[in-house]
């Protein structure tokens, strides 16, 4: 990549930050060049963030309707999926999956809820319920 080809397509995903790329100047010498963003990369990041937001919103509606427990909503709200939640809490995958059921979740002792709350950085009281809107936490 040539220095003057380094894309400057301002990416919302960078939050105003510029990252460093390596490119060659007119003489063929490598040098570090700042980039404000590149469309294909921005698309890929936004696509991943949007997918997690979609799962979060879906879980919010499902939890409100009593189809899943609030744990599913909080998991996606914290950009986790079942595998990450299992790994961070150290609970068995089948237990985490069971806790996605509203009836089983409602009976969980604080001891177990605290393990989830800790890795999500919320209180047990928050974990038991839902915020006003999926993106208002």
């Amino acid at each position: 990549m040539k220095k003057d080809e380094v894309p400057q397509e301002t990416a919302r995903t960078y939050g105003g930050v510029k990252k460093l790329l390596y490119a060659v100047d007119e003489a063929g010498e490598y040098t570090g060049v700042n980039s404000a963003g590149w469309e294909p990369e921005t698309f890929a990041t936004v696509q991943a963030v949007d997918e997690l937001n979609r799962l979060r919103d879906e879980a919010f509606a499902d939890a409100k309707a009593g189809r899943v427990s609030p744990l599913v909503f909080w998991m996606y709200a914290r950009r986790m999926e079942p595998a990450t939640l299992t790994a961070t809490t150290g609970l068995w995958a089948w237990r985490v999956k069971r806790h996605f059921k509203p009836a089983i979740f409602a009976r969980l002792p604080d001891r177990i809820l605290a393990r989830y709350a800790e890795v999500m950085d919320i209180t047990v009281a928050q974990l038991r319920g839902l915020p006003a809107a999926p993106d208002a936490q």
Binding site: G15, Y22, Y30, N34, P40, F43, Q47, R79, D121
Partner: protein, 329 residues
């Protein structure tokens, strides 16, 4: 407060290593840290999942650069992990009071200065803490243009987040830095080792063969019944792994080409300089792949898996020729 010279880098681990070694008195560029540790690779790992997608790596696993540079330079790091977060934070404070800048492994999700869209649960992000001001730690995060700050509660969370590749509070700093590098010895050794990774791996998913494997696999994914929704996600995932923050462009190819050029000039070695130009060319093809793949994923270009396969095979050919040119260096 400790004096620490912050230099922005493309990749966190090579940046932290280059900055800490330079801080110790031995000037080391980021590309040199990356190249001397033979960190370039390609690996397609369908068994290891990242957010439900196969792991595609363009560099060696976390920790490789820290260890590799130490080996090549004949230095060692003091590395510590902690089971108790309180002890981990106290040990950090103790080092800062002694005037040492300290490297830390952290989970990117909990760093408050990270842009919202960059916050994912990735446990192997490296940064340097060089001081403390009240409740704030002074941070040289190499992927940022300038230094940043992080409150103690967030830093503690980031250091002790559990899960895959958990940092366990990992903290490191050099135990003395050598006065000079014997480039004539270190460079050929590092290049030979990297060549083995790229062309000599016995598995079809690693190195140049892995690049061809990815091309074939895109065709398989396109044949799935849920390809309509899954294929765009899959292509986006590949591009993300290749270009998202930390690769320096084209999945570390430009970073390594920069190393080959710097090394070629230092040693007046034309083969290294030619390899640098050849890898730059392969890197340009990777960029083209990202451009075409995202156009297809967004429906702005007719989806043609054969074309993607062709681009990837072309890249594999270029990289293979480039490594063959370095045979026996």
């Amino acid at each position: 407060m400790t004096e620490f010279t912050h230099r922005q880098s493309a990749h966190c681990e090579s940046g932290v290593v280059a900055n800490m070694v330079s801080d110790g008195g031995l000037g080391l560029s980021e590309p040199m840290a990356f190249g001397l540790s033979s960190a370039l690779t390609f690996a397609y790992m369908p068994i290891i999942k990242m957010a439900g997608m196969p792991l595609i790596a363009y560099r060696m696993p976390p920790g490789h650069i820290i260890k590799g540079v130490a080996k090549q330079l004949g230095m060692s790091w003091k590395r510590q992990t902690f089971s108790d977060p309180d002890a981990g934070m106290a040990a950090l404070d103790a080092q800062l009071e002694k005037g040492h800048a300290v490297g830390l492994q952290t989970c990117i999700y909990w760093l408050p200065y990270m842009p919202e869209d960059m916050r994912f649960h990735f446990n192997a992000h490296n940064l340097v803490v060089y001081g403390r001001d009240g409740d704030d730690y002074l941070v040289s995060d190499p992927i940022f243009e300038g230094v940043v700050r992080c409150d103690s509660a967030s830093l503690r969370k980031a250091r002790f987040a559990k899960g895959a590749m958990a940092a366990k509070g990992m903290m490191y700093y050099p135990e003395g830095t050598p006065k000079e590098i014997d480039f004539a010895k270190a460079v050929p050794k590092a290049v030979r080792m990297n060549r083995r990774i790229m062309v000599g791996a016995p598995l079809p998913v690693i190195g140049v063969k892995g690049i061809r494997f990815l091309g074939k696999n895109i065709g398989k994914v396109a044949a799935r019944p849920d390809a309509n929704t899954y294929l765009p996600q899959y292509l986006g995932h590949i591009v993300r792994m290749q270009e998202e923050i930390g690769t320096g462009g084209a999945g570390f190819r430009f970073l390594y080409a920069s190393f080959l050029q710097e090394a070629g000039k230092k040693l007046s070695n034309d083969r290294l300089l030619q390899a640098s130009a050849a890898l730059t060319d392969a890197g340009d093809s990777w960029r083209k792949f990202a451009l075409v793949a995202t156009k297809m994923a967004r429906g702005r270009q007719t989806l043609d898996v054969k074309e993607l396969d062709n681009i990837l095979n072309g890249i594999a050919d270029k990289e293979l020729a480039m490594w063959q040119g370095l045979k026996g260096i």
